[in-house]
C-alpha cells in the first residue's frame, strides 16, 4: 500500500470515529478522538526534528508545556478579570482561541530558538541531555511559580471560545483540532519536499557535504527546531483546552518521552507516523488501562518490538521502504 493511502485511511478513520461517536451520542469517544488529534499534532512537531532533522530531542515537553501555560495564563486572567500587566502597557487576559494559539506558537517558537541555539552546539547523547535539562528546568520552574497554581496546576472553568463555534460541544472542538492537524500536516508535507526539507534531510545524512555546497547545517537545524517547537506548542495549548487544566506535568520528561513514543510507534520521518502512533497509544491506554494499571509494561514491550524488529513503525510496516518525502 502506498503511504498516501495509509495517511488517508488514518485521517479518515479518525474523522469517522468522531462522527460515529457523535451520531451514537458518545461524547467520551469524541474526547478520545480529540486527544488523538492533539497528541498527534505534538508528535508531528517533534517529527520535524527527530524524523527530518535526525535530532533526538528529549525536551519537547518544554514546548508542549509552554503552549499549555500560554493558554492557562491568558485564560485565568480573563476568568478573574485581572490584567496580566498594567505598566508599561496594559495586557489583558483572553479566552479567544485564535489569540491563545498565536501566543502559544510565538512563545514556544521563541523558547525553541533559545533552547535550540544552545543545544545544537552539541550532538548525540549530549544533545539529548541538554534538551532534557531545559525541559526539566521549566518543569521545576512551573512547580515553584505560585502565581499560576504551582504544583497543583491551574483550572480553567469554561473552554475558550472560537468565533462562530460552540467549543464546549465535543464534536465542534474535535473539528477545530482535526482541521488544525490537517493544516499542519499539509505544511509539513510541503516542507519535506521544499528546498528546506531537502537540505535538512541532507544535513542529517552528510553535514560535511551540506556545508561544502554553501549551506549551514546549524541554521537549517535551528530553523527546524523552531518550527518543531512552535507546532508542539500549539498542541500544548489545545491539550490544555481539552482538559481545561494545565499542570507542571505537561513539562515533565515523561511527556517528552510519550511524544517520542508516538513518533516511534507510528514511524519516524513518516508524515502521518505520529497520527498512527498517538492513535495506537490512546487505544492501548484505553483498553489495556482498563485491564491493568500497569499497562505501560505492555506498551514498553510493544516499543521494544518496534525498535528491534519493525523500524519504520506501523506505517513503515505497511508501506514498506518508501522514502517519506518523495
Amino acid at each position: 500500500m502506498r503511504e498516501r493511502h495509509i495517511n488517508a485511511i488514518l485521517l479518515g478513520g479518525l474523522l469517522a470515529t468522531a462522527l460515529a461517536a457523535w451520531g451514537l451520542d458518545q461524547p467520551f469517544t469524541i474526547t478520545l478522538a480529540t486527544k488523538v488529534a492533539i497528541l498527534a499534532l505534538a508528535g508531528v512537531g517533534l517529527n520535524i526534528t527527530l524524523g527530518l532533522g535526525g535530532m533526538i530531542s528529549l525536551g519537547h515537553a518544554a514546548f508542549f508545556g509552554i503552549g499549555g501555560y500560554a493558554m492557562g495564563i491568558l485564560a485565568s486572567h480573563a476568568q478573574n478579570y485581572t490584567p496580566l500587566m498594567e505598566a508599561p502597557l496594559l495586557i489583558e487576559g483572553t479566552n479567544s482561541m485564535p489569540v491563545i494559539w498565536l501566543v502559544a506558537i510565538a512563545a514556544s517558537a521563541l523558547a525553541a530558538l533559545v533552547i535550540g541555539a544552545l543545544s545544537l552546539r552539541t550532538t548525540g547523547a549530549y544533545f539529548i541531555m541538554v534538551t532534557l535539562a531545559f525541559g526539566q528546568m521549566l518543569y521545576y520552574f512551573a512547580i515553584s511559580w505560585p502565581a499560576y497554581g504551582g504544583e497543583d496546576g491551574l483550572s480553567i472553568y469554561v473552554r475558550n471560545g472560537f468565533p462562530g463555534l460552540n467549543t464546549l460541544d465535543p464534536i465542534q472542538f474535535f473539528g477545530l483540532c482535526f482541521v488544525l492537524l490537517c493544516l499542519v500536516l499539509l505544511f509539513v508535507a510541503r516542507l519535506g519536499r521544499a528546498p528546506f526539507g531537502l537540505a535538512l534531510t541532507a544535513a542529517r545524512q552528510v553535514p560535511a557535504r551540506v556545508e561544502a555546497v554553501g549551506l549551514s547545517p546549524y541554521r537549517l537545524q535551528l530553523v527546524a527546531f523552531v518550527l518543531s517547537g512552535a507546532i508542539t506548542g500549539l498542541a500544548g495549548a489545545l491539550f490544555a483546552d481539552l482538559n481545561r487544566f494545565v499542570s507542571p506535568a505537561m513539562f515533565s520528561w515523561q511527556t517528552s518521552g510519550e511524544i517520542m513514543v508516538f513518533v516511534i510507534l507510528g514511524g519516524v520521518a513518516r508524515l502521518c507516523g505520529p497520527v498512527a502512533g498517538a492513535a495506537l497509544f490512546i487505544l492501548l491506554e484505553h483498553w489495556l488501562g482498563a485491564l491493568s494499571e500497569f499497562w505501560h509494561i505492555y506498551l514498553g514491550a510493544l516499543l521494544l518490538i518496534v525498535v528491534l524488529f519493525a523500524r519504520g513503525g506501523l506505517i513503515g510496516q505497511i508501506a514498506g521502504r518508501e522514502a517519506a518525502h518523495d
Binding site: 505544511f187 510541503r190 516542507l191 519536499r193 521544499a194 528546498p195 528546506f196 526539507g197 531537502l198 537540505a199 535538512l200 534531510t201 541532507a202 545524512q205 552528510v206 560535511a208 557535504r209 551540506v210 556545508e211 561544502a212 555546497v213 554553501g214 549551506l215 549551514s216 537549517l220 530553523v223 522514502a323 518523495d326
Partner: protein, 250 residues
C-alpha cells in the same frame, strides 16, 4: 602574470606533536590543473580541508577570489565559488541522484530557506542539476537512490554535485580513487576540459592521470612542499624520486 584564483601562504597545522601542514605555500592560477601529490599521510587531505574551511589552520593565510578567507566558514567559501569533492564520497545515500545534485545547486539559486514550493518543481534548479549529471554521464540514473549506485558512479556523482555549484575553482581530493582503468580514463578526459571553466587543485594518487593532466605539480611530504614544477621538472627531480616516486618503482 595573472592573479591566482586561490593561494595559500605559510600554512601550518599540527595535530598534537604531528605537523600535518608545515609552512605550505602554493597557488592555483586561472585555467590550470595544479596537482598535489605525496605519500599517504603527507597531509594532502588536511591541506584541502584548510582551504575548504572545515579545518582551522594554526597559522598562515588562505586567499580566494582576491580575498583573505582564512577566517570564513566553509559555507561562505563555497558560496564565493569554491567547489569541492571528497576523498570518501559524502553523498546523501537516502536521496536520489538528482536530489543530491539539486542540493549542490541550491545555495547559488535561492538558498534553502524556502518552505512551500517543491524543490523538484523549480525548473531552473532542475535544469542546472540535470546539466551537471549529463556532463558526468549519469543522466540515466537521475531517479536512482544514491545507495544503489556503484562505487564508480558515486565518484561521478561526487563531481556532479560540485559542478552544480558552478564554482570558480575546484578542490578535488582523489576523485579517481577506486575508479578502475576505464573510469579513470573517462574522468581524466572530463577534467581536462573542465580546467577551462575553473582551475582545479587536484589531489591524486593515479600518476598516469596526474602526468596527463597537471600543468603544475606540487609534491607534499611530511606536511612540506618539497617541489613545485611542471610534469617534466617533477619527473626529473631526484629529491622527488627519492622521497616519493621512488616508492612506486621499488
Amino acid at each position: 602574470m595573472t592573479e591566482p584564483v586561490l593561494s595559500v601562504r605559510n600554512l601550518e597545522k599540527s595535530f598534537g606533536a604531528l605537523k600535518a601542514t608545515d609552512g605550505v605555500s602554493l597557488d592555483l592560477r586561472p585555467g590550470e590543473i595544479h596537482a598535489l601529490i605525496g605519500p599517504n599521510g603527507a597531509g594532502k587531505s588536511t591541506l584541502i580541508g584548510q582551504i575548504a574551511g572545515n579545518i582551522r589552520p594554526d597559522r598562515g593565510e588562505v586567499r580566494f577570489a582576491g580575498r583573505d578567507v582564512t577566517g570564513l566558514p566553509t559555507g561562505a567559501r563555497a558560496r564565493m565559488g569554491l567547489g569541492r569533492t571528497f576523498q570518501i564520497s559524502a553523498l546523501a545515500m537516502e536521496h536520489t541522484v538528482l536530489q543530491n545534485v539539486v542540493l549542490g545547486a541550491l545555495a547559488a539559486r535561492g538558498g534553502a530557506m524556502r518552505f512551500w514550493r517543491p524543490v523538484l518543481q523549480d525548473g531552473a534548479l532542475l535544469e542546472q542539476a540535470e546539466a551537471a549529471l549529463g556532463r558526468v554521464g549519469l543522466s540515466e540514473h537521475t531517479a536512482a537512490r544514491t545507495a544503489e549506485l556503484s562505487h564508480g558512479q558515486r565518484r561521478q556523482l561526487e563531481v556532479a554535485v560540485a559542478l552544480a555549484l558552478r564554482p570558480r575553482a575546484f578542490l578535488m581530493d582523489e576523485p579517481m580513487a577506486g575508479l578502475g582503468a576505464e573510469g579513470s580514463k573517462q574522468l581524466t578526459g572530463f577534467l581536462d576540459g573542465l580546467r577551462a571553466e575553473a582551475p582545479i587543485l587536484l589531489v591524486e594518487h593515479d600518476m598516469d592521470a596526474v602526468f596527463a593532466l597537471a600543468d603544475r605539480i606540487s609534491v607534499l611530504v611530511y606536511g612540506r612542499v618539497i617541489a613545485t614544477g611542471t610534469a617534466e621538472e617533477i619527473r626529473a627531480s631526484r629529491e622527488v624520486r627519492e622521497a616519493y616516486l621512488g616508492e612506486e618503482d621499488a
